[in-house]
């Protein structure tokens, strides 16, 4: 199963967008709860949590879990009448 033109194009885009990432998925997970609270509160994310942002830009799995978490926390807040 060879790579198609679209897949080759995707690969090039992924490669050229690759940035330094000091976290792995578990490291991102450990900081996620703290990070998402800053995002929900619209406060500026502190430097110590910037690594989470960088990892989320690179990792589609963690990015999807982060989006799901944001949605879920908003749903809980809405149902609590906050």
């Amino acid at each position: 199963m060879a790579m198609t033109k679209d897949q080759t194009e995707t690969l090039i885009a992924l490669v050229t967008d690759t940035k330094e990432d000091t976290l792995d998925c578990d490291g991102c997970f450990e900081l996620m709860a703290e990070f998402v609270e800053y995002r929900l509160s619209n406060h500026q994310v502190p430097e110590a949590l910037r690594a989470v942002e960088r990892h989320l830009e690179q990792c589609l799995c963690c990015q999807d879990e982060y989006r799901a978490l944001l949605d879920g926390l908003r749903a809980i807040a809405a149902s609590s009448g906050d």
Partner: protein, 224 residues
């Protein structure tokens, strides 16, 4: 440090004068209740947490992988994971935010596992998997055809020479849309290792692109 607004309500982490969080896991009411030796207290906390998690998981799970699993299908596993991981709660966020973080990962992981359970990775493990195959467009002129073939040959040479066999496999599987943890599970590895394998592969290729003077738009321009 601004104190994050809690979307759910409840206790905040106390801070010392130098803003260093002062926290012990046992000081959180949720943790105390979930670890209580009195079953009434413990069961009430579990029921309350279960209700919160279901409210939080319902919408995101219904929007992913065709809603193949519902919040109720994973909440028990999530509660078990939360109880087993209570010692890891460091009090840097609300307990319920942390619990939702755990539950979300459990829920989405289960959905991914189910969604890709019948997908085989064998096709991505042979040498042919990272061969670039683009049909020749007969409508373009000869010079353009040559430019395209030169571009393909350059990219192919980089992929073949820079990446290891494992990196080629992981890159190929991820290009097919397989999540890292699914790739990991199917080849007996773990999500962190596969993520690192793919990330290192991309960094190596990026350096090779830079050395060869290939920019992001070059491929698109050549094949426009």
């Amino acid at each position: 440090m601004p104190s994050p607004v809690d979307p759910i309500g409840g206790m905040r982490v106390s801070t010392s004068p130098d803003e260093t969080p002062v926290f012990s896991t046992d000081s959180d009411p949720w943790v105390r209740r979930l670890q209580s030796t009195e079953s009434d207290i413990r069961d009430a906390a579990l029921a309350e947490l279960r209700s919160i998690l279901i409210r939080g998981l319902t919408k995101p799970m219904s929007q992913r992988y065709g809603g193949s699993l519902q919040a109720e299908d994973v909440v028990q596993e999530a509660l078990m994971k939360i109880r087993d991981s209570l010692h890891q709660f460091a009090g840097r966020s609300k307990f319920t935010t942390w619990a939702m973080t755990v539950a979300t990962r459990v829920g989405i992981s289960e959905m991914r596992r189910k969604h890709y359970q019948d997908v085989s990775i064998e096709a991505f493990q042979n040498d042919d998997a990272t061969r670039i195959e683009i049909a020749v467009d007969e409508s373009v002129d000869a010079e353009r055809k040559i430019d395209r073939q030169i571009m393909i040959d350059k990219l192919q040479k980089m992929i073949d020479s820079v990446l290891t066999e494992k990196q080629r496999f992981a890159i190929r599987a991820s290009l097919e849309g397989l999540p890292m943890e699914v790739i990991a599970e199917k080849c007996g590895s773990n999500r962190n290792s596969i993520y690192k394998l793919v990330h290192d592969a991309k960094v190596k290729l990026r350096r090779a692109f830079e050395q060869a003077g290939i920019a992001a738009d070059d491929f698109a321009a050549t094949f426009a």
